[in-house]
Homo-oligomer: 354 residues x 2
């Protein structure tokens, strides 16, 4: 077994309490005792066991993170942001994925709760009606949603006490589509991930509708596709094959989808942007390395992670002060809306005036 605080105390000829004190508030131990203890620690290669500490202290300085997948760069960047901030604040990170499966969401959170994480950062399929979030609330564990964007509070209704960190998906999508409209596009088709796998996708579709209506254009219903692949949806293929029917621009609910769409268009013999423009959403870094550069809405993913973690830790530590009920302490709710940008790129250009 590894050396415990007890062995250190024995070797140094002091009580375990003194060792503990040195570890926690070094000021409260005399210089020479401290010296002795440090030597013993060194000699034994002692390293405090956080399990003991957590058990006693009732908190773990660990946060749980639950994201759908790491295959999408966006979530990897967000996790990166979380980790960097956590390290700075001296927190550790337990991490899980869900593959967009609500069942896995719950299982993941259950496990994190058994580990007694102090809080959770998560991105769920749909923040509206979500058993996992209810569970977290029942357990009074503070949590912060990333990418999921809570609804604007309605005056008169009881305000939501949850916390989210995201861009304004609807406004951002509206900006993107407006960008296309300004370039001269009239027939713009939205391609989206499954609405039921992502509440953001729906918000982005609303943004599309806003922009189209604002410009007096006819919106089209969105085409939902599985996991970034344009299935051999024959209606889609037909639409694309027929120049009269074909949209002059595609607005995609995420960059991976946009890039896949571009590849498929190429396979169909269509050139981007000469024959059709493509705009994405996310602003993943590789998009800027392509030729043409992928026009997109840029979300500050790493910053989303950073803000989420700091907000969560603030709630946790407020809770410690408030007497353990960290969730109540964070009550009031908060919608952190981070600024988005529109990256103009060669993939979106003015349509041929032929």
């Amino acid at each position: 077994m590894r050396p415990s605080i007890k062995q250190v105390a024995n070797l140094a000829g002091v009580s375990i309490a003194t060792v503990s004190r040195l570890l926690n508030k070094p000021g409260s131990v005399s210089a020479e005792t401290a010296e002795k203890i440090h030597r013993s620690i060194e000699q034994l290669g002692f390293r405090p066991n956080f399990n003991g500490r957590n058990l006693r202290a009732g908190n773990s300085r660990t946060v749980g993170v639950v994201v759908p997948t790491l295959s999408n760069t966006v979530f990897a960047q967000c996790l990166q942001g979380i980790e960097l901030a956590a390290r700075e604040l001296d927190y550790s990170v337990m991490f899980t994925t869900t593959e967009y499966l609500p069942h896995d969401e719950s299982a993941a959170v259950e496990l994190l709760l058994s580990h007694r994480v102090d809080g959770v950062i998560l991105t769920v399929a749909d923040a509206g009606a979500n058993a996992t979030l209810d569970l977290l609330e029942r357990e009074k564990i503070p949590f912060v949603l990333t990418y999921n964007q809570l609804a604007q509070p309605v005056p008169g209704e009881t305000p939501c006490t949850r916390v989210s960190v995201s861009v304004d998906n609807r406004a951002a999508a509206c900006d993107a589509v407006t960008h296309l409209i300004r370039l001269g596009h009239r027939r713009i088709q939205m391609l989206s991930g499954r609405f039921n796998a992502s509440d953001r996708a729906i918000q982005r579709y609303y943004g599309y509708l806003d922009a189209m209506r604002m410009a007096g254009l006819d919106p089209l219903s969105a085409i939902e596709v599985e996991r970034h692949t344009l299935t051999a949806a024959t209606d889609y293929q037909q639409m694309m094959a027929d120049p009269a029917q074909r949209p002059t621009a595609l607005f995609c609910s995420n960059d991976l989808l946009a890039m896949s769409a571009m590849r498929d268009l190429r396979a169909l013999g269509l050139r981007v942007p000469q024959d059709i423009s493509v705009m994405g959403f996310d602003g993943i870094p590789v998009g800027a390395l392509m030729e043409p550069v992928l026009a997109s809405v840029v979300q500050p993913s790493e910053q989303i992670g950073d803000v989420a973690l700091r907000t969560l830790v603030a709630a946790i530590e407020r809770g410690v002060i408030a007497g353990g009920d960290a969730h109540a302490a964070s009550a009031g709710g908060m919608r952190h809306v981070l600024p988005h940008g529109v990256r103009a790129g060669g993939s979106a250009a003015s349509p041929d005036q032929s």
Copy 2:
């Protein structure tokens, strides 16, 4: 405070030992007692506290993961593979990043050790002389290296007891360069990340040398660049500007670098592949979506993670049986060399025969 096993026992009218037994080996409790206990658990919303369990059991069913960064898709995919496998085997994952800083490597591992993870998966800058690995060995914590590739055992020398999971970097690079040579290239320049930030980069350079020599061509010294950016290195710019000096192909030590290089070449007015071919290493998925498709060596990153986790868990559980010294139990060492592929892509074509 959350309900503990004690409250469950009280409510069910049994001892805590019985509750514990039900939780661990349900067979050893009578049906009706089990029934009562289950009801109590339900009613109280009891969830076992892993801190208590870990403290007592001396193991945590948690592994630590340390990677340089998540900005590189390769590591994100690897982490994904680790997480999926961990979940399947009922392990949790604590995760950290080092930004390629050896100091952060050690700090990260120290923290993980304090959390009493059962094992560690890590990618270090240089597996050769590495204080972090020595620490892990001293602490007898089993660990598995990913991407770092251990040297082939030399007959007669004491074999290394460490474990690595990677492709054969040298052979893979050799295959890539051979691919370029077969296309007709003679003047091939390697662009690499800093050798001191990545032992893989050096192996890949050796592979480049192998291929060049095998073909009787003059190898060039590699150009090392910072973090995927072709700094305004004037000698590089000059080399590129002068058609006589300019290589006909670039072999890059990773895909991000290759994509950045392509962008920079474009800025210089050079076309890929007409004026110059580019080949990467990693085979990140987005490379296949670009036009031209990025020619690259494909590493099975998610599988690297999967194999690493399973190997680690096997070592851990062998150790439990062997009496706690999991590291000794894993002794013998192992170099898992996973197969790589060469993805031909439009970015690498035959040079102009002008």
